[in-house]
Structures are given as structure tokens and as C-alpha cells.
């Protein structure tokens, strides 16, 4: 008995992503059964992903912050503020769309770095910096919107939140993605062989590629059978790709993990840990800007309440996705799957017309359970 529990624990730790996928399948199966199939349609799938995109953007930034051993509570308010700025620029100032985008993204980066500056250079705990920002940014948003909703008319901005990629473009990108993945795999193999490192058997890599291809094809075909890939989902996928690459293959990415696992040892190795931390918060700010733009675009309006409690969803997604509470480990893909789980619960329960208060109770319980399973699997032990 004890042995099987241990084995299960090992399998869970090794294939954490697999466990998360199983959870998603279980959740989807449950809702499909309860909604008599309405949940599992291309239309709902498209909606679900679009709902998830905003939390996903925040979670992608948040997972880096948490890996580095910090937390950012201000992201919900910052999302609201930057969404409000976007609306204000579009409606009151009436600047061209690219200028709105550039301004909001730059502003997000700078405000994020400002947060990071307080954390890393002024050494104020990130929890406090986040709390301060949560209050202050919401205050600025109320000032900008004068407490009322700003409706936008600019078709381009609305398209960013509500539009779809053309079918052919979606298909084309899927093919390109698959070719890139295949190239990466084979280039990795030749490189490893060149440096006399062990190479996995060819059939394993081929099987992996085939599975990935299947997932990509299924994804695109399903979405195209409705109206195509929603633009925010497309943006989120790009973020997933870029961030995973940053985490695995760049100096900056490695340092995030090193800083989170042992800040002092990393600093004494000659790494400028302060810059790393400040930039992390900068990236978080950038993600808030994207999420803010998407929110405003999707609702075709900026509301003074938008982004309320979004930080909690983002943080919960990271932890459900297996990010360690003590920093040092976690993945972007995990965090996004966490966000998908949260979005699936929201979506499914709404379809079943579950009361809002029940939805909150269920989501809270799931977070508690997910982290408990994580603790059981022993991955957070030092």
C-alpha cells in the first residue's frame, strides 16, 4: 500500500503537467455530462479560451514573479488602470490605434519596473509594494474614469478583443508551428550527438511530435469549425511560446530560477540580482498592459471595476499549475493550464447557472485542494 502511494507520488512529481491535464479532462467530462453536451462544443470552447486569455496573460507574468520568490498583488488594479488609459486615449484624445497600444504597453512596462525598483533597490517587501499599488492604481483609475464607464467606438480596438484570425492564417500558422517544433527537435538531436551527449530513441521524439501535431491540429480544426482562433487566445499562445523559450534558453530565464532558489548564492556568483528582479516586475507590468487592452477591447468599454480581484485568479492559476510557493520552480505552461482549469470551472458553473457565491466557494476549495496535492507529492520539500 505504502509502496503504491510512493509510486503514485513519484509519477505525479515527474509528470505534473500530465496530472493537470487529467484534472482538466475530468472537469470537462463532468460539465459535458451535466450540460448534456452543451459544454463540449466548438462555440463554448472558443468562449472558454477567450475568457481564460486575460487571466492567462497575468498568470504568465505572475509565474516568473513567484518563481523568483516574490508576489505582485497590484496586477488587478494595474490591469484596470491601463485598460482605462487605453479607453481614455482612444475616446478623449483620439490618437491612432498603434499609438494607443505603444503608449499603454510602455506605461505598463514602466509602472511594473517602478514596482520592481521599490522591491529590489528600496528593499520594501513585494507583498507591501503590491498592496500599495493595488490601492493606489485603483485610485488613479477612478480619477481617470471619474468613476464611470467609458464606452469605446474605435473598431480596431474592439476587434483586438472580439475578433478572430482568418481561417487560412490559423491553418498556416499551425503548420508553421509544427514545422518549427519538428526543426527544434531534430536540431537538438544533432547537437546532442555532436557533443557526445545521450540522445533519446528516435521513436520517442517522433511519438512526441505526432502527439503535439495531433493537439495542434485538433485545436485549430475545432476553433475553425466555429469562427477561428480568437485574437486574445492567439496573443496568449505567442506569450506561452516566447516565455517558455525565455525560461528555458535565455540567461535571464535561468537567473529567475536561480534568484528564487537562493538569492544570496546567486548574488555572490556575480549576478546582478537587482536588475533581474526589477525586470521581472517590468514584464509583469507589460502583461498587465496586454490584459488591460484585451479587457477594454472585449467589453468595448473601460469600467472602474475592471480587473477587480484578477490578481487572485492569476496567483491561484500559478499555484494550481504547480509553481512552488517558496520560489525556485514552476513553468509557464503549468500556470496557463492552471488558468484553463479556473476558466473551465467559471464557464461550466455559469452554464449550469450555479449561484456566484457557490462559484467562489468551489474555486477557493479547488485552490486549497490543488496545493495540498502538490504538498503531498513532496515537490515543495527542501
Amino acid at each position: 500500500m505504502a509502496a503504491t502511494v510512493k509510486q503514485l507520488q513519484r509519477i505525479f512529481t515527474q509528470y505534473k503537467i500530465l496530472a493537470l491535464l487529467l484534472a482538466i479532462i475530468a472537469i470537462w467530462a463532468f460539465f459535458t455530462w451535466r450540460t448534456e453536451g452543451d459544454f463540449f462544443t466548438a462555440r463554448n470552447f472558443s468562449n472558454l479560451l477567450r475568457q481564460m486569455a486575460i487571466t492567462g496573460m497575468l498568470a504568465a507574468g505572475m509565474v516568473f514573479v513567484i518563481i523568483a520568490g516574490e508576489i505582485d498583488l497590484s496586477v488587478g488594479s494595474l490591469l484596470g488602470l491601463l485598460g482605462g488609459v487605453a479607453a481614455a486615449l482612444d475616446v478623449f484624445v483620439q490618437v491612432p490605434l498603434p499609438v494607443t497600444f505603444a503608449t499603454v504597453l510602455l506605461l505598463g512596462l514602466l509602472i511594473g519596473m517602478f514596482n520592481g525598483y521599490w522591491v529590489s533597490y528600496m528593499r520594501v517587501p513585494s507583498f507591501i509594494v503590491g498592496l500599495a499599488g493595488m490601492l493606489a492604481f485603483r485610485g488613479v483609475l477612478l480619477a481617470v474614469t471619474k468613476g464611470s464607464t467609458i464606452p469605446i467606438e474605435s473598431a480596431g480596438l474592439v476587434e483586438f478583443g472580439q475578433g478572430y484570425l482568418p481561417f487560412m492564417l490559423g491553418n498556416g500558422l499551425a503548420v508553421v508551428l509544427f514545422v518549427v517544433l519538428a526543426l527544434i527537435t531534430f536540431r537538438g538531436r544533432t547537437n546532442r550527438r555532436r557533443y557526445n551527449l545521450s540522445v533519446a530513441p528516435l521513436w520517442q521524439d517522433l511519438l512526441r511530435l505526432a502527439l503535439l501535431g495531433g493537439v495542434i491540429a485538433g485545436f485549430v480544426v475545432t476553433l475553425n469549425s466555429y469562427q477561428g482562433i480568437p485574437i486574445p487566445v492567439f496573443v496568449l499562445l505567442i506569450i506561452l511560446g516566447v516565455f517558455s523559450f525565455v525560461a528555458r534558453s535565455t540567461v535571464f530565464g535561468r537567473r529567475i530560477y536561480a534568484v528564487g532558489s537562493n538569492l544570496e548564492a546567486t548574488r555572490l556568483s556575480g549576478v546582478n540580482t537587482r536588475v533581474v528582479k526589477m525586470m521581472l516586475f517590468g514584464i509583469m507590468g507589460l502583461m498587465c498592459a496586454l490584459a488591460g487592452l484585451t479587457t477594454t477591447a472585449r467589453l468595448a468599454a473601460a469600467s472602474p471595476a475592471s480587473g477587480n480581484m484578477a490578481e487572485l485568479d492569476a496567483i491561484a492559476s500559478c499555484f494550481i499549475g504547480g509553481t512552488s510557493m517558496r520560489g525556485g520552480s514552476g513553468t509557464v505552461l503549468g500556470a496557463l493550464i492552471g488558468a484553463l482549469i479556473m476558466a473551465s470551472l467559471d464557464n461550466g458553473m455559469s452554464m449550469l447557472s450555479v449561484e456566484t457565491y457557490w462559484q467562489m466557494i468551489v474555486k477557493g476549495s479547488i485552490l486549497l485542494l490543488a496545493v495540498w496535492v502538490d504538498v503531498l507529492s513532496g515537490s515543495s520539500e527542501r
Partner: protein, 512 residues
Amino acid sequence: MSEYLLEMRGIIKAFSGVKALDGIDLQVHAGECIGLCGENGAGKSTLMKVLSAVYPHGDWEGQIFWQGKELKAKTIRETEEAGIVIIHQELMLVPHLSVTENIFLGNEITTVGGIMNYEAMHQRAQELMIELKMPDINVALPVSNYGGGHQQLIEIAKALNKKAKLLILDEPTSSLTRSETRILLDIMKDLKRKGVACVMISHKLDEIAEVCDTISVIRDGRHIGTRPMGELSVDQIITMMVGREIKNLFPREAHPIGEVIFEARNITCYDVDNPQRKRVDDVSFELRKGEILGVAGLVGAGRTELAMAIFGCYPGRYEGSVYLEGRQVHIRSPRQAVQAGVCLVPEDRKRHGIVPLLGVGYNITLSVQEKFSHFGVVDQSEEMQTIQRMIDSMHIKTATPVLPIKGLSGGNQQKAVVAKMLLPKPRVLILDEPTRGVDVGAKYEIYKLMFDLVKQGVSIIMISSELPEVLGISDRVLVIGEGQLRGNFINEGLTQEQVMAAAIGQAEALAA
């Protein structure tokens, strides 16, 4: 009835399939002191954790008999109630609590309603301090007011307060000064007379020889032998531990020494909490190309602080200047130091050396990742090749380079940390206690590496509390005492007595 106080039979403990202990036997009589020896990773600490129920009964195989009855403890509390108390290598005191509060932590004397009875506790703590010959300690003050040596003794007081019949000491002297070690060893002998048995894990064979009646050697999780102390020479013990003969502990090799390459001038460091107090007081010294400079002194003399100031990471205010090849270099952060060619292998491996969750390989390349990157993107194959080269050349024992470094033994972690600081190609390498908590075999390899480096023209500053090591390796020896430079000796015919006399400020008396 068993004649033993403690008998462990056929202990087997495996971690995810790998046997750390493979059928160990150990017997202890009442009032007997056993020295437990073995290389790092041999299983000594694991065995003691089995005994003290850090690993509860059922987590391992075999039997433990305590005073003739089988002991099936599930928690540390149960073993402590039976009278088995372990004192870990890293001290387990709460720095902000008083000495008394620490001694009674978990066993507080209380009046009705759980109110702390400080009067009774202070009195008992005072008695324990007198018993341990430390009447000067104010038991009402926070533990952080006292140094490592005293803290170790406070741990022992805590154990005695629990009415320990068997005391397990894991590397008790690894952070103590000579005089503190002296006091500890005397107290252990004293306890023995009072019938307290003890198991002492230590790499310091002379200390084991002094206090222990019996010596038990384990290697690779197996019991190699248990003999009365008198029957074995130090050389024989080392041979049993490593399973091979090490003829010469210090592989000293001749190497050319060049011009002065590095200079530190007027380094002064002020205490972080008490800015009036100088931890390092106006120390200047020179270092030649290809030279090994040993820095001796008592623990707390200011040697580590001096190294930190040179490396730009001293936490408090400090002054002074550093010259490389005659030109002043500005070093105010570790980053600048590494770029200038000055590298430091810190004393506290766990806190300052390793990044526990990162793989062994990524730990090694941590300080030079830019070198493998093109526009911030790491060329992983190139990096992996360098990692493999370092792992091979430093003989780091690891299953794969991606294994998190926390899974390695102390000696292998240390080699990885040294490897990390070699990759930036330092001109001056500062090693702060490079062989602390490292087994004999790994020590030998580290010494050999140091000689390889100086032959290539690297200059080494080695801080060490072990005098035989300082004298066995260094070309020149600096002695620091109470923050001041107390001696600068060419290491020819230098004796431990001379160095020690300088360290405690008695050099003149000796000369006279």
C-alpha cells in the same frame, strides 16, 4: 536482558531505491563514547537520523534495542523521552530567544494556565551553565549575543535538561575555535564519567582519539569495523574510511612564485549592528602570482569579513582599496569582483554557495552564462559541453548534470561551487574554509586542484581554521586576531604553536 544501552541491528534505509544504509550494526554501553567515522555520504548522519526517529520507525528496516527493549519510536519526542538526544551539525537555536527560553523550548516549566515560570527556568538554566563551566553566561540574554562555541554548549545544556542518556553529536566542533573545542571535549569527558553515553560524528580524528573509547567506521552505508580506540592509528582509521591508503594528506608540490599581483590596502570593516566596533581593523597585505596565502586565526577574528570586503559583499560599512597588477580596481559588488578576476568560494555553502533547486550543471555555469549566450539566448549544447568538462575534471559525482544540486553530498557540492568560481578564470581565488565538512578523499582532491591552479599562475587566498591544513598547503601565512593583522610568516619551519601564539596576541611573549 541486553548488556548494551543501545543496540542497532541490521539497519537498512533506502531513498527512492538507493540504499543509504545497508545493514548497519552499532552497540553502545552506558557511559561509553563512540566515534563514528566515515566519508561524507557514507551514511553517518542518516544512521543517527534513524536512531533519533527523524526517520520514524517503519521507514527503515532493522531493529533498535534501547535498554534491552525494542524501540519503535515514531517521533523525535518519543526518542527524547527515552533519553536519546541529537545535536545537529547546524545549530537549532532560535537566535532572538533567550538562553533560558532556548533550553526549555518545547519543555517549558509553567504555572497554572500555561504561564511561563521564568524564575524556575532561569534557576535551572543557571545550574546547567555552572555544570558546563560557563558561569558567565547571562541566561536571560538572547542566544544571538553569544558566539558559535557557546551556542554549541547551550545546545548541550538543552540536551542535558532533557535528561539525555545518550547524546548524539554531529560534527560538534566544525565551527568552534580551538579553545571552545577544548571546553567541549572536556565537558564530554565529564559527561562520560557521569554515565552519559555519546556518539560523536567527526572528521577530526585527533578529537575522536581524545574522547572516544571505541571507534566505528562506516563506508558506503556498510559497517566496516568497530575497534577499541587504542588499537588503531590515525592512518589506519583513514584507510578504513576511504578504503584506500592516503599516504600524504597534503600533496604539496613545488611551484614558481612570481611578482606581486594583488594588493589590499587599509581594509577596515565596521560591525553591522554596532557601527562603532571594527570587525577588521586596517589590514593590508600583498599576494604574489602563483602563491597560496593561508589566512589563519580564530573563528570570529575577522577573516571572513576581510574576504567579503575584498569581494565587495561585506554587508556593513567598510573602507579600503584593492590593487590588481599595480592598478586600483573598484569593487563594490560581487559582480564587479568577478569581472575584475577576483572570485570567492564562500564559507557557508548552503546559504551562499549552492542554488539548491538548480541542476548541478547550471550551478556550475551560473556566473558565466553570458559566455554561452548569443543575444541573451543560451547555446545549451555548448554550455553542456563545458559542464561535462568541469564535472569530469573536478571528479564531481553526480548521476546527471541536471540533478538538483541539493541531492549531492557536501564534498561534491563544494567541488561544484569551486568549479563555478573557476569558470570566470580568476586571477585571485579566495577560498573561505574550502574543506569544511568535506571528507578526507574530497579534501585531497581540493588540495590537488589548488596546486594545479597556482601552477597555472592563479593566486590563492585560503582562509582556514585548521592549522595543519594552513601549514600543509600555504606558501605564506597571514594571522588575523581581533580584526588586526598579527603576523605574516613565510611558511618554512613554521609551527602551529607560532601561528596560534600570534593569533591570540602572544607572539612577543613567545619571541622573548
